[in-house]
């Protein structure tokens, strides 16, 4: 099994969710994160105190899929999340050794 970890633009979440649903991917976990990268941040001023905000709000989407569905899922996700502008984000893939469904202790790909 593989874990797909995508950092995307928050306003793309709805599109990504829909695309994944269409592609038959149901399980996912999302986290609100902030990211730093090539995309430049913005300036905020509070009573003369300037802050260069370079940690921008992003959404992290985590999906664990059977090896066989990896490529398709990555592609679906990336296509849906793409705007073509700096800051669109990254996808990282890591290996998952085991998955357990808490409800009934199912293990492996069947647990997804």
């Amino acid at each position: 099994m593989k874990k797909i970890e995508a950092i995307i633009q928050p306003f793309k979440l709805e599109d990504v969710k829909e695309a994944l649903k269409h592609a038959g991917v149901d399980g996912m976990t999302i986290t609100e994160v902030r990211g730093h990268g090539r995309q430049k941040g913005h300036k905020e001023v509070y009573r003369g105190q300037e802050y260069n905000v370079d940690l921008l709000p992003k959404i992290k989407v985590e999906i664990v899929v059977p090896d066989g569905r990896l490529e398709e899922t990555v592609k679906t996700l990336a296509d849906a999340a793409r705007t073509g502008k700096l800051g669109d984000g990254k996808i990282f893939v890591t290996a998952v050794e085991e998955a357990i469904r808490i409800r009934n202790s199912d293990r492996g790909e069947g647990a997804l």
Binding site: F11, E14, H42, K43, E44, V45, Y46, V53
Partner: protein, 468 residues
């Protein structure tokens, strides 16, 4: 001769004997009259103290409706990235309209002029001092009246901001609002409330339209303008696709509560005195708010199986809107009815009609203020009665029959004219102003700015920095 002497003596004695009486009689009235005159002036001062106390509080309450009331109500309904911009729209108007009003607004609305616009008499508030202006309010300083009216001129444009929340350019908003107050609000206020205004039932208007606290001037005008704005600006990016849930219903509930409380100043303050009429308006206001909340909640309970909190507070606001024009004219039980109807009608407008029509009136300024205001203005024609408000007298001193309830069905037509004028002026005026502002500055932010949010792009701030 003796007789003469005698007679004179008698006269003299008698006179002297009655003299004390005369002296007393002559003295008493004098000093009494003086005292009474003094009392009368002291009385005027005492009466003024009571009325002015109430009116200053009312003015403060109406300001509180805009900030923090409306700022919270609207601010809670938008997404996190736009909350400050939304609150700013209310707050900045508190500042902007004040200066406009001081310079020219009050004069154009309330000094005598044509039936459609006031004159230049009070420019820069010349002649607006602490002496009462008996035309408007005989027992309170003229400045108190001016200030109370200013608070209305602030909240009315602020109500419109609900329609173009989350997508208007701030600079455009500032220009739009200046023009809107000058071109739509002030003429309408003059027509309905100004001396010699076209619709002023009390001070020489041609059509006697009853609008106690601003059903047409405030709510129809802002609500209809909001609709035009929503249509002109178009939908928010992602509307009906992305979730646009209120970022904090808690803020909206606080705001709605403050609106409710502040509305006592708005409506009962419109009696311009701490009189029984103020009490009537206070009671009606409260009753309509309560019934409005129940009405909207009932609608939701029936339709969705559960009443929402946002629905309950929206219903209360709808009830408050609808009772505004009639608050000083109707009895308490009709006030309950007006509130209930407003709750149901505005619920239907916002939940059913808006969905069908498909315009994006982000915070339902039209669905609540436009619809509720129109409904209330017309129902005022039905329920207005001189048992509550007998200020309008026939030449023979009898109180004039007011609404259908007094056997004067024609009033409904009068009310209709008032509403119509407000619709047309607000609709056409707003459209033109939008066009002009759009040409000069552009009214809508870019797609990128809209996605990033108005707080950052228009004001360079974020509302919440919890992680700090």
């Amino acid at each position: 001769m003796r007789l003469l002497v005698l007679a004179l003596a008698v006269c003299l004695i008698t006179f002297l004997m009655s003299a004390p009486a005369m002296a007393q009689a002559a003295g008493a009235p004098d000093s009494g009259a003086e005292k009474i005159a003094k009392l009368e002036s002291a009385l005027a001062s005492a009466q003024s103290a009571g009325d002015n106390a109430w009116m200053l509080v009312s003015a403060a309450l109406v300001l509180m409706m805009t900030g923090p009331g409306l700022a919270l109500f609207y601010g809670g309904l938008v997404r996190t990235k736009n909350v400050l911009a939304t609150m700013m729209q209310s707050f900045f108007l508190m500042a902007l309209i004040t200066v406009l009003w001081a310079i020219a607004g009050y004069s154009l609305a309330f000094s005598e002029g044509t039936p459609f616009l006031g004159g230049a008499k009070y420019l820069f508030l010349r002649g607006v001092g602490v002496e009462p202006n008996a035309d408007y309010a005989a027992t309170i300083p003229h400045q108190t009246f001016m200030m109370f009216q200013l608070m209305f001129a602030i909240i009315t444009p602020a109500l419109i901001t609900g329609a173009f929340a989350e997508r208007i350019k701030f600079s455009a908003l500032v220009l739009f609002m200046c023009l809107w107050v000058l071109i739509v609000y002030i003429p309408l206020a003059h027509m309905v409330w100004g001396k010699g205004g076209f619709l002023n039932a009390y001070l020489g208007g041609r059509v006697a339209c009853f609008d106690f606290a601003g059903g047409t001037v405030v709510h129809v005008s802002s609500g209809v303008s909001a609709l035009v704005c929503a249509l002109y600006l178009g939908k928010r990016h992602g509307y009906a696709h992305e979730p646009m849930k209120p970022h904090s219903v808690v803020l909206s509930v606080i705001g709605a509560c403050l609106l409710w409380v502040g509305w006592f100043g708005f409506n009962a303050g419109s009696a311009l005195a701490a009189s029984g009429l103020a009490t009537s308006a206070f009671v009606n206001t409260h009753f309509a708010a309560a019934a409005g909340a129940l009405g909207w909640s009932a609608g939701e309970w029936f339709r969705n199986g559960k009443p929402s909190v946002l629905g309950a507070v929206s219903g209360a606001v709808a009830g408050l809107v609808a009772i505004t024009p009639g608050s000083g004219f109707v009895k308490p039980m009709p006030a309950l009815l007006i509130g209930l109807l407003a709750g149901l009608v505005c619920f239907y407008m916002v939940v059913v009609i808006k969905g069908k029509m498909g315009y994006d009136d982000s915070l339902d300024a039209f669905g609540v203020h436009g619809a509720g205001g129109t409904l209330g203005a017309l129902l005022t024609g039905v329920f207005a009665t001189n048992a509550i408000n007998n200020a309008l007298k026939r030449p023979d001193g009898h109180a004039v029959a007011l609404g259908l309830a007094d056997g004067h069905p024609g009033q409904i037509l009068n009310q209709f004219w008032g509403v119509l004028i407000a619709w047309v002026l607000a609709g056409v005026g707003t459209w033109i102003i939008l066009k002009v502002v759009d040409l000069i500055l552009g009214v809508r932010v870019s797609r990128e700015e809209e996605i990033e949010g108005l707080d950052l792009t228009q004001h360079g701030e974020e509302a919440y920095n919890y992680e700090g």
